[in-house]
Amino acid sequence: MTHIDPDALVASLRRLQKDRSATGIVHHLERIVQVVDRLFGYSGAGLMFAEEDRTLRFLFATDERGRSLEHAQAATGQGPCVAAYAGDTAVTTVDVRDDVRWPALKDLLHPEVRGVAGVPIRLGGVPVGTLNVYQDSPHEWQESDTQALHAYAHVIEQVLVAAIEADEKAVLADQLQYALDYRIVIERAIGYLMGKHDLTASQAFTGLRKQARDSRRKVSDLAAELLGEQGPKSVADPDHVG
């Protein structure tokens, strides 16, 4: 038995929809990850999604440290989030830098990425990505932590389901692919800023995010502009869902 009044819901959604432009699923997912960070008080959080060949790719992270975690796993094909995706289960580590399961990660990680937990995000019961959180010091994860993360991942799954219902799977996939592709542009912009201003990766990423936020633009757009190039055009623009 449902406990939702569809008529009341539609009336309210119609009001919410009025005079607002669609912002796209990727933008919403990014905001959702920012909320998980604040909700649980973790040092950072991020999302990875799988491509067609089941390779996990970095989608976004709440800060540069989290970006290093996702980048390191994407580069080496190993890590707690890769394991969470492959095993379709929660995977945690007290200290990812000392974990013998993933020895290749240490050299690629920001030194303040220590305790890590990853849970799968599923669609139709099949894992399609992972929600990842980290702490900046070694952390003993409790079962209540992973239960809460599973519950949060479930909310993300519902958001994906809602988006798929309306946008068709292909468009959603295009939006996620677009976001994945744009990571490359952001990486290159960070490298450019590091070289030009003698910054660390952390300083460059933080500065890029701040400038984007201050100018109410997406990091990816600003990164493309810095590099004097346009973003990928072959896929749908997530700001203009068709």
């Binding site: 449902t2 406990h3 939702i4 009044d5 569809p6 009341a8 819901l9 539609v10 009336a11 309210s12 959604l13 119609r14 009001r15 919410l16 929809q17 009025k18 005079d19 607002r20 432009s21 669609a22 912002t23 699923i25 919403h28 905001r31 959702i32 909320v35 604040r38 909700l39 809460a148 519950a151 949060y152 479930h154 909310v155 519902q158 958001v159 389901v161 809602a162 988006a163 219902e165 309306a166 946008d167 203009h240 869902v241 068709g242």
Partner: protein, 154 residues
């Protein structure tokens, strides 16, 4: 899965995350009236429909103040409780009402509730606010996902 099913599933997930007995939602409609939209169970529906019909309650106060309203026990005497409302929603005792803000605009109120009296602490109030933020995002996705009306700006 339709919007109602998604929303119900999200509310259940939020109640689980928050560790409370249930969650219920009131949203402003096109005439700016706060309407009961749904809940995780019958007690939550009672709480919301009672507020809509009697015109008082923590969600209504939360909407008018645009602020959190934390009630230890609805059954307590006024002004600490809402005894008139409690008569219509007897199983519900503690309520935390969280205003839902999109941009700078109120769009509704999310109620978390417990069947026993409970003093909501600052950490719970903060968590409730964050879950409110999360629900606003979910509602935006649902609004954008509606296929019976075109998006503006296209």
């Amino acid at each position: 899965m339709d919007a109602s099913s998604v929303l119900e599933s999200v509310l259940i997930g939020m109640a689980d995350l928050f560790g409370v007995d249930g969650a219920a939602l009131m949203l402003l409609d096109e005439e700016d009236r706060l309407r009961a939209v749904g809940a995780t169970d019958d007690d939550g529906l009672l709480l919301e429909s009672a507020q809509e019909s009697v015109g008082e309650g923590p969600a209504i106060d939360s909407a008018s103040r645009c602020d959190l309203v934390a009630i230890r026990d609805l059954h307590a005497a006024s002004p600490i409780g809402y005894p008139h409302l409690a008569a219509y929603a007897a199983p519900v005792h503690a309520v935390l009402s969280v205003p839902l803000i999109e941009g700078a605009e109120l769009i509704g109120v999310l109620d978390f509730y417990a069947r026993v009296g409970h003093a909501w602490g600052p950490a719970e109030a903060e968590a409730g606010s964050h879950l409110g933020e999360l629900l606003v995002i979910v509602l935006q996705v649902l609004a954008e996902s509606r296929t019976d009306a075109p998006f503006s700006g296209q």
